[in-house]
Symmetry: C2
Subunit: 115 residues, 2 copies
DNA sequence: TGCATATATAAGAGTTTGCTTATACAATGG
DNA sequence: CCATTGTATAAGCAAACTCTTATATATGCA
């Protein structure tokens, strides 16, 4: 994994820019608690699928997030192997839990599960 | 002052957007270690005075930074009364110290001091 | 009072961002 | 192998961002 290392400022600024968007920051907080697939994000945010996809690509390009395909669905989650994993944890630790959103999906029967 | 409170996500995203710029992030790290006036920033960054001024305004508008005038100079520093002070501390704690930059100014006789 | 210095603001140009719609690609099941 | 479903990519547009130059404002001092 990695330890609390010193981050160079330019790298940190780029990460913060990626996180400095309400949609992406919420996604990251959600993924720190659950993995999620694209169509779930589409339901959670009132946004088109391409818009969601583009946000996820930014997160993936930054290395903060990884994807796993299971059948039709691609699940996104925080990448614990990112050298910036603990940095992100620092940043999002003060944010309110977003579990309730995923639970709402669940009660609406919109949660995707591949077991 | 304030405690480790939960930050709403939109507010956090806006703060991160402000911090998600190399110049501003470096400024904030510097100010967490020293107060600085505008002309010092102009020397530290290879940037025009209005560009520096505009970055400082963004930081001030976010409430993260406060200014104190002393004669000709306006000194900027982190605002410990900001409700987001500890959040910012979390974010910048992993960044490398920028003291050496201010020390370079000092050896070049470019440091402003109003004692 | 008038000038020099420090800083802020205004206006404009070039770039980046974040959406939209349209289309392409990938996987599954009949 | 075709249709359906989930996801990604492309192209285009409006808004936001970050710089530049020019100018205004504020303070201290001769």
């Amino acid at each position: 994994m990695q330890t609390d290392q010193v981050l160079d400022i330019e790298t940190a600024a780029n990460l913060l820019k990626v996180l400095g968007d309400k949609t992406r920051l919420t996604m990251v907080k959600i993924m720190s608690e659950h993995e999620c697939c694209v169509c779930e994000f589409v339901d959670l945010f009132d946004m088109t699928q391409p818009a969601i996809s583009q946000h996820l690509r930014k997160l993936k390009d930054s290395g903060l997030v990884k994807e796993t395909r299971r059948g039709h669905w691609i699940f996104y989650s925080l990448n614990p192997n990112s050298p910036y994993y603990t940095f992100v944890q620092h940043v999002i630790s003060d944010l309110p839990s977003q579990r309730y959103k995923v639970e709402e999906l669940e009660t609406q029967g919109k949660r995707i599960c591949c077991d």
